[in-house]
């Protein structure tokens, strides 16, 4: 596209040390069905470009939705002007960019069936059937099916000579059954958090069976007991639940921009400071976290990030020790790294990219261990499935999590269903209490498509994963 060269030539001629342009078309289809009533059926197309200029140790970023030579040149000029204003403040605190080479490449999320091409009536027919299935259960008062299909088509060019053509997409079905009984109301949710695949995934999920399962479990949950006072117990966490736990307690603290204090005013900073690299015991020896933006079907697998840095795979925590961060070109140099891990991503064309969590997962245990064996080996604990309430402090130390479905474990057996379970823990106590992880046969990915961060706020996506794991001696109890 001619605007790529036009913008980069203009930026260079205006003295940019580095510049890039990202022409991005984002298509979202959102369908929200509640109790057989379509509350929202919308297709949104946002198309425009963002131009980043780096000059004298500072960024300027300007965006536009007008495609003409004049508009592109005016946007470049605006970005240059803003960079100059930023530089006037950064005289003694200049940013630096980690070196990077140029690339000419194409990346596309592999899909068998384009989700946006599937006729609406086919989607709605399935959603209605799922709704009807849940509502057929007496006591289920609300049935929800929320479907998001998202596609980004990007053309990227930089003054390094990089030219990228990147198309990524994901699909995220979520179904919720809510039961009301005896003055209480409890929900059970099927939500795998989205996956970078096509409609073929939906066809493989057997959502009617999932609907029956969550409706039945919502009814069990609303009638279940409350655990009672908090005490130290074992926790067995399923991969879906652990996806959120690792997101909050490992993913965010190891974003290098937080470590540097760049999120101090809003999302917060991190306890995992650079002097802890290679020596801080973040978790027990069986805890290994990998950042992997090459992960198949991973939501952060984009080929390249919005710095034009290719996707990579690296240990963030190795044998329990803090090993490395997720970084970007402008954060890496601040701790003396001469390379970026490729974690700079923007949501829409009008967003300046920021340091985001990569696809991040817990490696499975190396010894053969099934979830059944893990439960059989646990005398007194709680088994948590799915995601619930989550809250963590702004240094990413103290946290409290709920869940979606709970079983009390007694003497190696699932003893009784529970509701309103919460647990409290902190870093590094929590990951150091991990004493067993099931093997690779039970490893599952789970996505996050709504990771909010930044000012102005952006929503990013990434995939997490794990096998079921056990944590000893955690404070677990019932809510009020």
């Amino acid at each position: 596209m001619k605007y790529l060269d036009l913008a980069m030539n203009a930026a260079a001629s205006l003295g940019a040390e580095y510049a890039d342009i990202r022409i991005q078309k984002t298509t979202d289809q959102v369908i929200y069905l509640q109790n057989l009533s379509l509350k929202h059926t919308n297709t949104e197309v946002l198309y425009g470009y963002g131009i980043r200029v780096f000059k004298d140790g500072a960024w300027g970023f300007a965006h536009s939705n007008v495609f003409s030579d004049e508009a592109v040149l005016a946007t470049v000029q605006k970005a240059v002007d803003i960079a100059a204003l930023s530089a006037s403040v950064n005289k003694t605190k200049k940013l630096r960019l980690a070196p990077e080479r140029s690339y000419i490449a194409t990346y596309k999320t592999p899909v068998k069936i384009e989700s946006l091409d599937v006729p609406l009536h086919e989607k709605v027919d399935l959603m209605m059937e799922v709704n009807r299935t849940m509502l057929a259960y007496e006591g289920i008062k609300q049935a929800v099916f929320y479907l998001v299909i998202h596609k980004d088509e990007k053309l990227f060019a930089s003054t390094l000579g990089t030219r990228l053509d990147v198309t990524t997409q994901f699909i995220d079905p979520m179904i919720i059954a809510t039961a009301v009984h005896n003055g209480d109301s409890q929900s059970r949710t099927f939500d795998e958090g989205g996956r970078a695949v096509g409609w073929e995934w939906i066809e493989s999920l057997n959502l009617i069976d999932k609907a029956k399962q969550i409706a039945e479990e919502a009814l069990i949950k609303v009638k279940a007991d409350v655990l009672g006072p908090e005490q130290r117990r074992s926790l067995i966490l399923d991969p879906n639940h652990l996806g959120l736990t690792m997101h909050e307690s490992v993913g965010h603290p190891t974003e290098l921009d937080r470590v540097l204090g760049w999120e101090a005013d809003y999302a917060g900073i991190s306890f995992a400071t650079p002097e802890k690299l290679k020596n801080y015991r973040y978790g027990s020896e069986i805890v290994n976290f990998v950042g992997d933006n090459t992960l198949k079907e991973g939501l952060a697998t984009h080929g390249f990030d919005d710095d034009g840095v290719p996707g990579q795979k690296w240990h963030i925590i190795k044998d329990g020790i803090l090993n490395e961060y997720g970084s970007t070109r402008d954060t890496a140099m601040e701790i003396g790294l001469d390379y970026s891990r490729g974690c700079n991503r923007a949501t829409y064309y009008f967003d300046q990219p920021i340091n985001r969590i990569p696809n991040l997962y817990l490696l499975p245990g190396t010894k053969l261990l099934t979830p059944g064996e893990l439960i059989a080996d646990t005398e007194d604990g709680v088994y948590i499935q799915g995601r619930g309430s989550f809250s963590i402090d702004q240094h990413r130390v103290n946290f409290q999590f709920g869940g979606d479905f709970f079983w009390e474990v007694k003497n190696g057996k699932l003893f009784r269903p529970l509701k309103k379970v919460i647990y409290k823990s902190c870093n590094p106590e929590f990951w150091n209490s991990c004493d067993a992880i099931c093997d690779e046969r039970f490893w599952q990915p789970f996505g996050v498509v709504n990771c909010g961060k930044g000012q102005p706020s952006q929503s990013a996506r990434m995939t997490h994963g794990s096998a079921p794991a056990r944590f000893r001696n955690i404070r677990v109890g019932g809510s009020q």
Binding site: N42, L46, S88, D265, Q455
Partner: protein, 424 residues
């Protein structure tokens, strides 16, 4: 934004039985700084055009961000195609008819005219002030101008323009972190000197933190803390969700569900507060009392549910909680000991039916005893039910602008339920 041109295109070409058109245009400048340097700097205009259409009770919608004829044609065709393929909606409701909308004043010419250079100077001055006290500052300076427009086939026409200026600062000095922010529709009342002096004073008061174990204890919630709780409680107050049994407010309309010192309004009478003249359904903003002296009077109710339960549709558009005249010093005299909370952070729902929330304190907690501040303490986690907490209100302070949409007082609340602490 050429709203008339877009509206004319839709009027001339839309074949649907009913439709509503929503236009939003914004022009923003955002300067983000951290650790005494600028890390992000963003400028640009945005446009959003959304068309909702229906054939009978079958509905669909489309959103685009360009207004050329080809894109408008796509907008129309996509929305109409989606509607034609949709099933009949048992809860369908026709678009709003013509309505008398309130006069509002959300737009300030001086704020709209604010230049990037002025904003960067504010950032520079904030950094200079931080450096002068051997501290670092992080935050964001931002300006927004927006125009919106809505019309329906049934005759509703509404428009609004708004401005907003915000400047936030988190100061880090030694191990102390604390924050002050300004967020209002007008730039003129903003004073960097005043805000930074408050920030520096907060930081000074927080030196010498001592460890404190969680317990049920009286709290003085400053407006910045209270607003966080109110947002979350407000999101649970849906008339339909409550009528269907999913919230703590089920069967509570007309009953003294809150403490009698607690009232809550959305109002057009406070000039400091922004107030959209209508919501996305075309419900006009009007004076609404949600809670009066503890009695639940109203809950937000969309047009479909209002028709079903024979209620008047209503929607919240800002928050006004009346205060009184008790100072923090007087509040500290009213209980033997307690905590002063600047802000809360990361509040989440623990149980939607009971209304229980969890969250952390942030940016400074002070312990007081015998009417005097003793020292700062570590941050704490709470698990609390906000409507229960209103029954434990002991005193109200003067009302302040916590943000452009929130005008709330300082509150003294007894026995606030802290359950955990963090290491800083």
């Amino acid at each position: 934004m050429n709203a008339e041109k877009i509206a004319l295109y839709i009027k001339n070409h839309c074949t649907a039985d009913d439709y509503s058109l929503h236009l939003n245009k914004s022009d923003s400048h955002q300067t983000r700084f951290a650790q005494n340097g600028i890390t992000q700097h963003i400028a640009g205009e945005k446009l959003e055009i959304t068309l909702n259409v229906s054939f009978g009770t079958k509905s669909g919608s489309c959103t685009v961000n360009q207004d050329d004829d080809a894109t408008l044609s796509y907008l129309l065709k996509t929305a109409e195609d989606m509607a034609k393929l949709a099933p009949e909606d048992p809860e369908f409701i026709a678009t709003a008819a013509a309505a008398k909308l309130p006069e509002v004043d959300n737009c300030d010419a001086e704020t709209k005219a604010l230049q990037p250079k002025q904003m960067v100077e504010i950032v520079q001055q904030a950094i200079n002030k931080a450096k002068a006290i051997d501290a670092t500052v992080s935050g964001m300076t931002e300006k927004h101008y927006g125009e919106s427009f809505m019309f329906t086939k049934n005759g509703f026409v509404g428009s609004n323009c708004s401005t907003n200026f915000a400047h936030s600062m988190t100061l880090k000095k030694g191990s102390v972190e604390t924050k002050v922010d300004y967020d209002a529709k007008r730039f003129a009342p903003f004073s960097l000197d005043k805000d930074f002096a408050r920030l520096a004073a907060q930081a000074e008061a927080l030196q010498g933190m001592q460890s404190f174990e969680p317990e049920k204890i009286a709290v003085i919630l400053r407006p910045g803390a209270l607003q966080e709780l109110i947002w979350f409680m407000g999101w649970m107050m849906s008339r339909r969700q409550s009528d269907e049994g999913f919230t703590p407010f089920t069967d509570q309309l007309g009953k003294p569900f809150f403490g009698d010192k607690f009232s809550w309004y959305s109002t057009l009478q406070r000039p400091e507060l922004s107030a959209d003249p209508y919501n996305h359904e075309g419900i006009p903003a009007e004076e609404i009392c949600w809670v009066k002296n503890g009695v639940l009077q109203n809950m937000p109710c969309n047009r479909h549910w209002a028709q079903k339960v024979n209620a008047k549709p209503c929607s919240g558009y800002n928050v006004y909680i009346p205060g009184a005249d008790v100072s923090e010093e007087q509040m500290m005299q009213m209980v033997p000991r307690g905590l002063i909370i600047n802000r809360f952070w990361y509040i989440r729902t623990v149980d939607g039916k009971t209304g229980e929330l969890t969250g952390m304190t942030r940016d400074g907690v002070l312990y007081f005893e015998n009417g005097k501040v003793k020292h700062a303490i570590n941050n704490l986690r709470f698990n609390e039910i906000p409507h229960d907490a209103t029954r434990r209100i002991l005193a109200l302070g003067a009302t302040e602008l916590a943000s452009s949409e929130m005008y709330v007082p300082t509150m003294l609340i007894d026995a606030f339920n802290f359950v955990d602490k963090t290491s800083f």
